[in-house]
């Protein structure tokens, strides 16, 4: 009973949080005249305040059709985003998982120092690394290409930190018994470590996807060629004339994130919990 009573204010708060999503869906179905009427004060400088309604007066799919059929650039950017995100996540899998296994399972000199360094790097915001990143990428001649975005992100410290927690949580006895059964180090990593640390890996991947799908600063800084731009840079280009398309594209951009979230929802919570636990 007590729980039910709590549900009401919590539901109201949840609805409030969902409001931008509703906003997005409603706007996607509005026609141009209605959008102009509602958004005119902020986008065109006309008198009054921005108003909004939950159900469009004249619902239309015109904006969706326009986006899907008349905006080839949207798809270019969508696939750019897909490519970059996929590349980054693949890189993190290849590099981050063994790195986290090594840090968690092996005792070697300077391990603590290295881990601390990882933590420090993880804490640094992008702005701090921007110039050095730019110079390095320029030297490597991978500026103005997707590789320039993917490589730095693939070696990100954050997924290592998340997975380190999961690998570190595997009992020593399990690994000892496997070694006794004659398993070598690679077999122990492949057959014992990855399956047991899968929650950490997935959780790191989901968090990584959400981060890199919405990447703005790096592409804006390192990519001159507009054909390489990700979807996150498509939206700021839209004015009132294409507000409807903007809502539709926003909705379209939202969908992959929703799917990934739904897929990795369980592991994501574990991952966030793991990140919160200090050794």
């Amino acid at each position: 009973m007590k729980k039910k009573i709590l549900l009401i204010p919590l539901g109201a708060l949840a609805l409030l949080c969902c409001f931008p999503i509703l906003f997005l869906c409603t706007g996607m179905l509005m026609d141009k005249g209605e959008l102009k009427e509602c958004l005119g004060p902020v986008l065109q400088g006309t008198e009054g305040y921005v108003s909004w309604r939950l159900v469009p007066r004249f619902p239309t799919l015109q904006n969706v059709v326009e986006l899907l059929l008349d905006s080839p650039e949207f798809f270019v950017m969508f696939w750019n985003s897909v490519r970059m995100t996929a590349g980054i996540l693949a890189g993190q899998l290849l590099v981050g998982v063994p790195a986290a296994w090594g840090l968690a399972r092996y005792r070697f000199r300077g391990r603590k120092l290295l881990y601390t360094l990882y933590i420090i790097l993880m804490m640094m915001p992008f702005q701090v690394r921007m110039l050095s990143d730019y110079l390095v990428l320029d030297r490597l001649h991978i500026l103005d290409s997707h590789l320039g975005i993917i490589l730095p992100a693939a070696f990100s410290t954050f997924p290592v930190f998340i997975m380190y927690r999961f690998f570190g949580g595997i009992p020593e006895a399990v690994i000892e018994s496997a070694r006794l059964d004659g398993a070598n180090a690679l077999q122990i990593f492949g057959y014992i470590g990855v399956p047991l640390g899968a929650g950490g890996i997935v959780s790191a991947m989901v968090l990584g996807f959400l981060e890199y799908w919405n990447l703005i600063e790096q592409p804006l800084t390192f990519l001159k060629d507009k054909t390489l731009w990700p979807l996150s840079l498509y939206l700021p280009n839209i004015g009132l004339e294409r507000a409807g398309t903007a809502f539709a594209s926003s909705a379209a951009a939202l969908l992959p994130a929703v799917f990934v979230f739904l897929l990795g929802q369980d592991y994501l919570e574990q991952g966030i919990a793991a990140a919160a636990v200090k050794e």
């Binding site: 905006s71 650039e73 731009w229 379209a252 992959p256």
Partner: protein, 685 residues
């Protein structure tokens, strides 16, 4: 569950892939495909062309006499003929008939002219006769009128004189006055008579003297001295002759007045006419100074003179009448007083005699007796005249004395009627005479006026008559026509081509009659031909006199380097110009369809674009140029509007202000879709 979500995610991505392809396809479909071209340096050429038919510069009309029967035509339209070629032939039979007809017409006209001439002459004769008769009638009327008036005047003055004499002799003194006047007249006549006798004697003496001198001179005298002496003598004689004239003058005053009055009546018909017309209205007293007035005679002023002369009246009257009649007969304007004439006549006689004597002097020297006889014979008229005078004066003297005697007898008999009764009778008589006189004057005036009008009518001008000249002209025309007919007959009715040319038009039909105007129209080949074409008025600026043109025909014949001869508006049509090109002789035949082409090129412009690249909006020109922009889809081409200034353009190109379009800029020349500012385009080759 996870599997479902995963498959949904995969489906979403597949859907996105599908729409990627679809939107790409839609995009490539919507983008305009354009062709581009860079601005280039070239000349703007203006080509003016038009088609028309070649016509000859000069046409020659061949005509013959109208109304001739055409026997045969030997040419047809478009045929080339040489000078002297037979064109057509006239029927000579009908030609001969016409000649005969013309000749007969001319003969008739000649006869008519002759008839007219003779009738004209007869008419002229009649007119002349009636004119002379009218003149004659006029003279007779004037003479008659004058005589009647003069007679009436004399009778009137006689009656008035009687009245005055009666009034003057009312008492004893008056009786005496009459007697005294009569006696005085007698005295005067006597003196005159004596003077006449003296004159005759003097004359005789002079003649004797003359004879004597002539005889002496015949012996060796100087004739000139003789003459001068005679001249002086003559003058003395003349002076002496005038003295009695002055003496008689007072008594004769009335007579000259009558004479002077009578004269104008005779000599100047129209003048008297006018005087007679105005006579009844004019006052007798105020007309006293007018010598031409008939009524002047009986005025009181003259009557006083008459009164003093009343005893000599009968004699003078007779003389005056004689003088008047003489004057009338002679129709002389100048006539001295009767007495003066009588007295002065000897003077010219003297001079005649002197001249004769002077001239004859050398001859007389030969025979003195013959000389004397001759002088005396020659002076005989003078002498006889003087004798006549003496006789006349004698007669007058006796008349005057008779009058005085009659008066004295009458007085002595004492049988005269009562004075009042007599006065009344005389007054009645005067009244009657006055009326008679007025009637005579009026009758004379009427007669003269009628006669004058008859003269005027007879000599009235007749209207001009140009029939003779007209007939002459008509005759000339007939002769000319006849000559033409004859000439045609001489040529056997054949009409030949006068020039080398092309038959342009035939207005004849075999068997019909020839028209009045052109029979056959020939295009003269030697004078060349011209091509006239029509071009739109909008091309006026690109064609002018002197421009080089090329003329082409359908037969691929091409004549280059011809010049435009004339450009002008084509009649009433404002949108069309007529361009004429002179073609060289024998180049193209008349009637050939040909095309003219003239190309005029401008200076070279740096920035020329094809005309279809040029757009116009609200009177200003612009072009679209290609603009490359980097977009998400890669390098994209868009159309950018560029406003330009057009310097010149023709049907294909437009010259823009230099620098309007950069050398690296591509101008969109054509597009398969409507494009606007910022339209995405795709270049196709």
């Amino acid at each position: 569950m996870k599997r479902k979500i995963l498959s949904a995610f995969a489906g979403f991505l597949a859907l996105m892939l599908l729409f990627t392809c679809l939107s790409r396809a839609a995009d490539s479909f919507s983008v305009a495909r354009v062709t581009v071209q860079a601005a280039s340096r070239k000349k703007i050429t203006h080509k003016v062309s038009g088609s028309g038919t070649v016509v000859q510069n000069r046409e020659q009309a061949v005509s013959t006499l109208p109304n001739q029967v055409v026997r045969a035509i030997f040419v047809e339209e478009g045929q080339q003929v040489a000078k002297g070629d037979l064109l057509f032939e006239i029927d000579t039979g009908s030609l001969q008939e016409q000649i005969l007809e013309k000749q007969q017409e001319m003969a008739i006209a000649d006869l008519q002219a002759q008839d007219r001439q003779s009738s004209l002459e007869a008419q002229a004769d009649r007119d002349a006769r009636s004119r002379s008769r009218a003149q004659e009638d006029y003279s007779v009327a004037a003479g008659k009128g004058n005589t009647a008036v003069a007679r009436a005047a004399r009778e009137l003055s006689a009656a008035q004189a009687k009245l005055q004499a009666l009034d003057g002799g009312g008492d004893e003194q008056g009786e005496d006055a009459v007697q005294a006047v009569l006696a005085q007249a007698c005295e005067q006549k006597k003196v005159e008579y004596e003077l006449a006798v003296d004159y005759k004697e003097e004359l005789e003496q002079e003649i004797d003297e003359l004879v004597r001198r002539a005889l002496a001179q015949a012996g060796g005298g100087a004739p000139e001295q003789n003459i001068s002496a005679l001249e002086a003598n003559g003058r003395e004689t003349h002076t002496a002759a005038q003295t009695p004239d002055a003496a008689v003058n007072t008594a004769m005053d009335a007579v000259p007045i009558v004479t002077a009055d009578a004269e104008p009546i005779v000599t100047t018909g129209p003048a008297l006419n006018a005087a007679a017309d105005s006579a009844p209205a004019s006052d007798p007293a105020s007309a006293g100074t007018g010598a031409g007035s008939i009524q002047e005679t009986p005025t009181p002023e003259t009557a006083s003179a008459v009164q003093a002369d009343r005893q000599t009246q009968p004699a003078q009257e007779a003389q005056a009448t004689q003088q008047t009649q003489d004057a009338q007969a002679m129709q002389q304007a100048e006539q001295p007083g009767t007495e003066a004439q009588t007295e002065t006549q000897p003077a010219p006689g003297d001079e005649d005699e002197i001249l004769v004597g002077g001239e004859d002097a050398p001859q007389q020297a030969q025979d003195p007796w013959l000389l004397e006889l001759r002088i005396r014979q020659e002076n005989q008229p003078l002498l006889s005249e003087a004798e006549n005078q003496i006789r006349q004066k004698e007669q007058e003297l006796s008349d005057a004395e008779a009058a005085l005697q009659a008066y004295l007898q009458e007085k002595a008999s004492g049988t005269q009627a009562g004075k009042e009764e007599m006065r009344a009778q005389i007054l009645e008589e005067i009244q009657a005479k006055q009326e008679a006189y007025s009637d005579a004057v009026a009758a004379a005036g009427d007669g003269l006026r009628a006669a004058g009008r008859a003269v005027e009518d007879a000599s009235a001008p007749q209207g001009t008559d140009s029939t003779a000249q007209i007939e002459a002209i008509e005759k000339e025309q007939r002769e000319l026509q006849l000559e033409k007919l004859n000439r045609l007959l001489e040529d056997q009715g054949k009409v030949l081509s006068p020039v080398d040319g092309t038959v342009a038009q035939i207005n004849l039909t075999t068997g019909d009659r020839t028209p009045d105007g052109t029979a056959i129209l020939l295009a003269d080949r030697a004078s060349g031909s011209r091509l006239t074409v029509q071009v739109p008025k909008s091309q006026e600026a690109y064609i002018a006199r002197g421009d080089a043109v090329t003329v082409k025909t359908n037969q691929k014949k091409e004549i280059k380097n011809l010049a435009v001869d004339r450009v002008r508006a084509a009649g009433e049509d404002d949108d069309v110009l007529e361009v004429t090109v002179q073609l060289p002789a024998d180049s193209l035949e008349a009637g050939t369809f040909a095309t003219m082409e003239s190309v005029r090129s401008s200076e070279a412009y740096d920035c020329c674009v094809p005309l279809q690249a040029l757009m116009e909006e609200n009177g200003s020109y612009f072009v679209y140029i290609l603009s490359r922009t980097e977009t998400v889809l890669g390098e994209e081409l868009t159309a950018q509007r560029l406003d330009v200034t057009v310097l010149e353009k023709n049907e294909t190109d437009a010259a823009l202000q230099s620098g309007s379009v950069g050398s690296d800029q591509q101008v969109i020349v054509s597009s398969d879709k409507m494009i606007g500012q910022g339209s995405r385009v795709r270049v196709v080759d």
